[in-house]
Symmetry: D2
Subunit: 286 residues, 4 copies
């Protein structure tokens, strides 16, 4: 029996004739077996996006040789390319504060296989979730964030992230705003959950804003963190009906379900390499 490995190939480029042909020819000539392919053309900008999964035998090509062989097509079509081996799990750091529902949800789903990442550490500005980290056997780092020592706190965080060789940071209701310097170290690698249906109710206390406005539906949004608060590319949104019968506490209780779902969905899509960012939007493949 020949061992196989699965390659994930992400492509963005201006749309031109023959693109899919050239890519599938490449796979065919490398004796790859195409498992999945999804593509999208943005009609406004005429930009092309593709995600392919294909199997190759384990000992034929490594990442470097595949990238070298892709170079001519890449040049010809002016492509951006990302290439992963599916077998390599992503290293994920989870940031939390006091609330625990998103943290629990990510760790339970990862334990049961619904999510599939390597939870390398939990970093929190509060101590209280340490016992959850212990329950799931994930290293816990308590780094208080005092306003006057925020820079030092972020330096400690970055050092820890570096030690774990982190691929993705998940802000699981982490109640601190990250500095532009911090964000620039992990571009499009920080996923946040905002507890509103963005762009409605940016900023603080979105449930209270929604309650005061008398909306009939509330939502939650997961997105990549950028320097503009709550304005990064949206990955997933979910909503639930509310009515005059729901108190503010009812809004919060219902919203917690949404927060868990949009955040775990975003982590799932990102770690499976199904999200392509384009300007301030995302292409999220199925």
């Amino acid at each position: 029996m020949i061992n196989k490995k699965t390659v994930i190939l992400l492509i963005s480029s201006p749309d031109k004739e023959g693109l899919v042909y050239k890519i599938t020819e490449f796979i065919f000539h490398h004796k790859g077996n195409l498992l999945h392919a999804e593509q999208h053309i943005d009609k406004e900008t005429n930009y092309f996006f593709m995600r392919l999964e294909f199997e190759i035998s384990d000992n034929t090509y490594d990442k470097q040789s595949l990238l070298v062989d892709l170079e001519p097509i890449k040049k010809q079509y002016d492509m951006s390319i990302e290439l992963y081996f599916k077998e390599n799990k992503q290293n994920v750091a989870i940031f939390t504060s006091i609330t625990e529902h998103c943290l629990y949800d990510l760790l339970i789903k990862n334990k049961s296989g619904e999510l599939d990442f390597n939870p390398c550490c939990i970093i929190s500005n509060h101590q209280n979730n340490e016992n959850i980290a212990e329950h799931f056997n994930v290293p816990f780092h308590h780094i208080p964030v005092m306003p006057e020592y925020k820079k030092e706190a972020e330096e400690s965080q970055l050092r820890i992230l570096g030690e774990y060789n982190v691929d993705l940071i998940v802000l699981a209701r982490y109640m601190q705003i990250l500095s532009p310097e911090f964000i620039s170290c992990y571009p499009q690698k920080i996923i946040n959950v905002h507890h509103s249906f963005l762009p409605a109710f940016v900023g603080a206390n979105p449930y209270n804003q929604a309650y005061q406005r008398g909306v009939k539906i509330i939502g939650a949004t997961s997105h990549y963190t950028t320097n503009t608060l709550d304005e990064g590319p949206i990955i997933e949104q979910k909503v639930v009906r509310v009515s005059h019968k729901d108190s503010l506490e009812g809004f919060i209780r219902k919203g917690k379900e949404l927060e868990k779902q949009v955040l775990s969905q975003a982590v799932n899509k990102h770690t499976q390499k199904k999200v392509l960012v384009f300007e301030n939007k995302t292409v999220v493949f199925d």
Copy 2:
């Protein structure tokens, strides 16, 4: 056999002990048979809202005598009261411009009995929907609205509304902004549909705004028109999922389904007297 008529009683007041007792006592002593009762207490303001439906025999009390008999309770509890006979259909005027889906939807549902109002007229600043009016046998009034003659146009509209003794104006994708003077003639009696999930994307071209922002869910909102654009009390909202695969035209197509639903739902609730406005919010009973 004794003929019955059904009374709808709407009450708003500060919450006090004995309110429901006193009201149901009133009904009991008037030999009324309670069919439905719904109530709500707003915990922030301690305000009480109630809607009751009860049957009385046809020849015992008219509206005036019931209101007189309610006067002592009304005073004791500092109530606002509205009283209707269910058998009296509401007179509804529909305002349209060019698009026809909401107009069709209201008229079809009213014809089939899903809605239950008296469609007394259609007023439009365009001619094209006249054949729809004819198909459903509703008088059609074409009143062009030129920017420089807007005041005159509104005067014509108001005159027509007065002739038909209109109880409710429904803006079925009517693309003109009404003046404060016009609105003040029909307070909480003008229902608009906005093609976004308010408060996101107020103003013009909400689908395009949503498309540019890259949201994953779009919505539509029906609300009472007030002097502040798109900020009146929300009656109903609905949403639908979109993705990168949906073009702007796709957003619009999906949104049209929502617009019809939130508008007809609002008309249904309003004409059944199930909406109570409270500050800038609504209590919408089932």
Copy 3:
């Protein structure tokens, strides 16, 4: 300051004039302050259902004296009555097998206050969830259920339930069928979750049945357990879209979210005494 306690009163009876009046008079005369009231009349059978919450001062009436005082109305209107003090938490036993997502969900939500019961014990026919019980400090009882010793196993279960004075049994993906004898000990006090949109796909492997049928939506259902498999009164249902892109594993993964939600929602409604069973249906108040 006078201490208050909150009374929950559930009423079912044939509909007759004056019912609400008499009940609210009762509350008024007992110096109760009505907090919530919801009612429903089943038009087919002309049956009346009501749930009231009212505050009374702590030292005036106990449960027994209230029930005695209600006796005349109860007789006059042929009522079934249940009366609870809201402050008394319900004793809940959770039954599990191997899967853990529903168990986790119930315990996390109870810890955070979204649910509000006394988790008196976890009973499982498998050992693997013991560490979850420990994490949440809930007693764990491992009772294997061998087909040939099922009677003995149920006797052990019933003995434990009796010791904890259990009010409600929650089957959190418990993969054993309970005997009629067992069920008869806890009528309308056993809540099950079935992983399909009942009445579609009763019995074993509902996700596989749904997958084979090629449905475009899957669901989950929480219901009271009766002697007829998957046919008890439905408390809550939720659904999610699927497509040809979802594998059977995808169905299962999406379904797990639904199972958690319908089960915790049912537990929430039941422990708040908001569910009234009527023939094989439920009235679930908001």
Copy 4:
């Protein structure tokens, strides 16, 4: 300027290496410009499905020459192939009985461009919808269906369908069961709407069945008609929440919205050639 035409190519075949490569090579060598491509592999059966849209210049190839050129690939990969020119609208016959909401919905959406078919005729066993046909300028054929003359009625229907060269029959709440002989003339070309969430509540009066069972969600299903009642391949399903507060009439009213949506969605997908039937399931591309 060169005129272009758009080709839609549907492929089903056992999955083999190089499939996508060979197809896109074919398009490339025919100077086609790929606009859309979607594919799916059924993992259980290892079957491959693909839908491609590509532009070619108007005067280079006709349908016949393209099919001839595809023959070698077709043979090599054991493919089923369908090929359409997007510019050719599908001829659709709508069958109705008394209810009108689905009929209205299809014709309004087609008029406004949301649907895009050629409505060649309406066939009804009742006279009442004739004025709707007139309003939309569609030929109306009244063919009563008496139980004892059903064969003759179907012969009349088939003759009319033949005259209009009908591509698709849409049963818009047509309340007659078609004979196997009739169905065999239009295999996978008859779309029905069933007013339940199939496979729950097959057969007559599904809303009443749902009402009696006390479900909390109702649905509607569009599917291809086969000889087994309500068991054909499902194209689309939608659902809406109900509660004890909804009467049977409420179920019906809410369900009508769903019926319209699932039926028009199915017609949209079918006429755009986005549905592939596989055993008793469908692949519905976006």
